[in-house]
Amino acid sequence: MNQTSPRLLFIGCVFLFVFMYAPLLVVIVFSLTPTEYGVSWEGFTLKWYQAVFDNKNIQAALKVSLMVTIPSVLIATAIGTITAFTLYRSKFIGRALFQGVLYIPLIMPDLVIGISLLLFYTSLNLELGILTILMAHVSFTIPLTTLVIIARMQRIDRNLEDAAMDLGADEWTTMRKVTLPLLKPGILAAALLAFPWSFNDFVITFFVSGVGSSTLPIRVYSMIRLGVSPIINALGTLIVVLPLILVVLGLLLERRRMG
């Protein structure tokens, strides 16, 4: 293989990376300029950020978002850990089937998940609100956390656990003192990735949120319906950049080698 890439391929790839990042850059750049329509650069300002922080609706939506995302990340990570451990370590009839069914929410179109939950809640006469959103988020986050933790399980050296058992530790002690510490980066990665997974969800939340319970993406959506405005750019920048810190940490942890 020659080391310098063919020029045409290189140019094509640069173009594609620009294509992948241009929209995010546009949102960020135009959150910092004072024009009303956000289409051309006219100097630097932070006034749209000020407007975001002063907006009562946005504050309320952020509160709802955190009240949904934090518990659902914690619950889904805990359940994902037990599920991944059991699925990976135990042999039982129907294991493949269980795993297949578990991943259904990853394959189903979000729209269908949202609509089926809407019908479910309506049939039960449940009032749509934070609790219905939270339940929905846990259910579509469990497959993700399980998947990430199973990937980590595959890299754990079984001999370490066997050694602990040989040295007289029972299953409980082995789990607490050997398996869990080895699995910790995987669990942390799962939680860090589950955060944006739940926080950013729009389509499913859209169908299961009630009148008084808008999460941030739902709030952004209703602002978009009113027209393009720089305040959306500022809010969008915050929504994109802040969770990204967690994502970068999560991806780094997930990819890190053992040891």
Partner: protein, 302 residues
């Protein structure tokens, strides 16, 4: 004393689970099984149930069995929208295949030390708000958007091009959103490709072009297939992109179904159409699993 009790309890519990492993497995899997049953499987059952109900006046639903909704599958409007959705999803797959192959090939063969960083760049947007990224395309493609402004400024055009609220905008949005799903499996299969096979091809006198089309491409068929399924399935059922970027002319099945639920409150029909969409997705995945590589897809989705 208390500590001893806890210890003894733990010991007898562990002995119980050791002797009856089924209980242990059952207990450990029950939380996810519970959530799966209550919030995925039962709601699916309810959608199936609703699809057989009768629509009452003013968007109510009457508890009477009927096949009316299933007869409306052949509604020409629905078929037209379904056909358009399939067309747009296929186009998305084709464009993603071409673009994704370029990027995956470049990273796999010329990435050098930056391979992991470049892959990271490919995945990163996927983890940011999809709503905000789609919204950004409105600012880029609208009549007074950046693209039109730029083209007018360099005097390539006088009037803004109609870039937004049509099939073109939807296609751009779909390719943009699902491209990473194509790149990852392609990259994995290119990375797995045995380099000595390529050297052998060259040694035996194949030109670069022959080697690519007769060796590299056939050997990465698995990745191409995985990527195509991972792109096609969500693109077909996409809701937000046609909602924000497509106008009335670029209606896709996802938006059509949502309209049945929210706008017209025709829940039985909306349920039937949702089932059609789900069925299509499941058939596709089943066929794909039969061809092989299902496991691969799940691992490479991230």
């Amino acid at each position: 004393m208390k500590v001893m009790d806890v210890y003894r309890l733990r010991k007898s519990l562990l002995r119980f689970f050791r002797n009856h492993p089924a209980f242990g497995i059952g207990a450990a899997l029950s939380p996810s099984a519970f959530w799966l049953l209550i919030f995925t499987l039962i709601p699916m059952g309810i959608v199936i149930y609703y699809s057989f109900l009768t629509r009452g006046p003013w968007g109510t639903v009457i508890n009477e069995f009927t096949l009316d909704s299933y007869r409306l599958i052949l509604d020409p409007l629905f078929l037209k929208i379904f056909a358009r959705s399939v067309k747009l999803a296929v186009l998305t797959v084709v464009i993603c295949l071409l673009a994704g192959y370029m990027i995956a090939y470049w990273i796999a063969f010329y990435g050098g030390k930056r391979k992991n960083f470049l892959l990271f760049l490919v995945i990163l947007p996927f983890w940011t708000s999809y709503l905000v990224r789609i919204y950004a395309w409105i600012a880029l493609l609208s009549d007074h958007g950046l693209v039109n402004n730029f083209l007018i400024k360099i005097q390539l055009i006088d009037e803004p091009l109609p870039l937004l609220h049509n099939e073109f905008a939807v296609l751009v949005g779909l390719v943009y959103t699902y491209l990473p799903f194509m790149i990852l499996p392609l990259y994995a299969s290119l990375e797995r490709l045995d380099r000595s096979v390529l050297e052998a091809a060259s040694d035996l006198g194949a030109t670069a072009r022959e080697r690519f089309f007769q060796v590299t491409l056939p050997l990465t068929k698995g990745g191409m297939l995985s990527g195509s399924v991972l792109v096609f399935a969500p693109a077909l059922g996409e809701y937000l992109i046609p909602e924000l970027l497509g106008g009335a002319k670029a209606m896709m099945i996802g938006k059509f179904i949502a309209l049945k639920f929210i706008g017209l409150r025709h829940w039985p029909l909306g349920s039937t159409y949702s089932l059609m969409l789900l069925l299509m997705t499941l058939i596709l995945l089943y066929l794909y699993m039969r061809v092989g590589g299902g496991k691969e897809a799940f691992q490479e989705q991230r």
